[in-house]
Amino acid sequence: MSIRMDKEWLPFTPEQVADAPGHMGVYQIADADRQLLDIGRAGGGTRFGLRGELTQALERWGDRGRYFRFEVNLGYWSRHQELLMLALHDHGHLPEGCSEEQAAQLGRISPHPGNDGAARPSSRTV
């Protein structure tokens, strides 16, 4: 499994967002150059899950938000943290939609160079 979000970017329009699932998960919003503007999550307490959160994000970003993508993910909390840490590692800062408080609370991650996947527990007998 890739640790970076590798879903296809979709046009950030009311019509596309209306098709987003009502599930818990994480999402990213990007500008016309596909530069990240925001990384968010739809948690267990949100109304209408990803669809609800993305609908609010449409209002928040207006014309600047041109693309979005999402993952349905029951582990939305830790996945959100992971995406924020990856953004910090890759760009040296968080997207502008994220708060300074979020950056201050984040951990540090340095994925293996050239390997976006992950090691797995060994089944070798020792």
Partner: protein
């Protein structure tokens, strides 16, 4: 056996119960159902209240500023502290403070000054890295991380898996093989700093516990000063074994807290909820689940308190501690499973805490030594020897 708490113990437990129900539970209403942290202002306010109660830094030895509680009181407190949604892994959201690395109390004076004291003051954070991709239940044989001495330094190479908090911590303790033979006598404990070259947090490891992830670490020619060997070279496993054994009892007691709360919620629910023209409480199928819950809770609670009492009397309690961990984690899993069944559709929603407890209790049967290892410990105590 008499497990009745004395007046002083009961007063402490009553205070903790009030704190959980009046301070912690109401705050949870406004948090994400998977949250395991409080907003900073709330954390500070609650933490100050705990200090005023004289209960801060619970598991810190008295000479280092801890409250010096006996284990029976500590276990009875733990039964209460986890009776909220996040309580199993974030009892009272950490407002009671504490220290994760009991090994450090066995360190040199220099190590205590550099690492332990700032840790106790809350100026540094720490992690514990033992498990590797090759296994965690039998670390003496599974550890493949190597440490080779080079002058005044040790050079570590290897990886660690399922490590909590390493991405945010300032330092941690870790274990590496310092001899060729795969035995307990070739494992050395090191204090390492996360800012040192060669220390990498390679990825987040997602688990059933959404709010709290583990990490995978890699040590790539990580150079550690010889002064950072904790204890003796080759004797890493002998450190703090007594303290770690004591830690198993609060762990067991915390596991039971959600079960106790779930049972309370079930009893209220079945009185209020009507089906086929009568309260759920009138149905024998439901009554029996309530009775089974109560038996599970009481048996496990008594086993935990029995172990705590033995420890407080200074008697050996290795087998009792293993039994307490096994009994409490497995009983709590059964109770919360029944609570979900009793609550029906509501039981599996995030409107109630049961689904979170259910997921997190499943981990509890593996963390801190799986049920099978606890049975192994008990079997060794009962029969003697390891029968390899």
């Amino acid at each position: 056996m008499d497990f009745k708490l004395d007046e002083e113990q009961q007063a402490v437990v009553d205070n903790v119960r009030r704190f959980v129900r009046e301070e912690v539970v109401p705050l949870e209403m406004g948090l994400d159902p998977d949250a395991d942290e409080l907003p900073h202002e709330d954390f500070k306010r609650l933490s100050d209240k705990v200090r005023a109660m004289g209960l801060y830094a619970l598991d810190v030895p008295e000479e280092f500023g801890g409250p010096g509680l006996d284990l029976v009181t500590r276990a009875a407190m733990a039964f209460e502290m986890s009776q909220h949604r996040a309580g199993l892994y974030a009892p009272c959201y950490g407002t009671f403070g504490g220290v994760g690395l009991l090994h450090l109390f066995s360190g040199s004076e220099e190590q205590k000054k550099k690492y332990l004291e700032p840790l106790l003051r809350g100026e540094l954070t720490s992690f514990f890295a033992l498990t590797e991709p090759s296994g965690g239940s039998d670390p003496a044989r599974a550890i493949e991380t190597r440490a080779v001495q080079d002058g005044d330094e040790w050079v570590l190479n290897g990886s660690k898996l399922y490590i909590s908090g390493a991405d945010k911590a300032d330092f941690g303790i870790t274990f590496a093989r310092t001899g060729s033979e795969k035995s307990r006598d070739n494992i050395t404990c090191f204090i390492i700093e996360s800012g040192w070259p060669g220390f990498h947090v390679r990825r987040v490891v997602h688990t059933m516990r959404s709010s709290h992830y583990a990490t995978e670490l890699q040590y790539e020619n990580l150079r550690v000063p010889a002064a950072n060997v904790l204890g003796e070279v080759g004797k890493g496993f002998s450190l703090a074994s007594g303290s770690l054994l004591r830690e198993r009892l609060p762990y067991a007691a915390l596991s039971l807290g959600p079960a106790i709360r779930a049972q309370e919620m079930c009893i209220q629910w079945i009185k209020d909820r009507h089906v086929f023209g009568a309260p759920l409480a009138s149905k024998q199928a439901i009554q029996w689940m309530i009775v089974d819950n109560e038996m599970d809770i009481r048996q496990a609670r008594w086993v935990v308190l029995d172990a705590a009492q033995k420890a407080d009397r200074g008697e050996p309690f290795r087998m009792e501690a293993a039994m307490a961990k096994l009994a409490a984690t497995e009983a709590a899993g059964r109770v919360v499973d029944r609570a979900i069944q009793i609550h029906g559709g509501a039981g599996v929603t995030k409107d109630f805490p049961f689904e979170r407890w259910y997921r997190e209790l499943r981990i509890r049967r593996i963390g801190e030594g799986p049920s099978e290892v606890q049975r192994l410990i008990m079997a060794r105590e009962l029969i003697g020897g390891s029968f390899k």
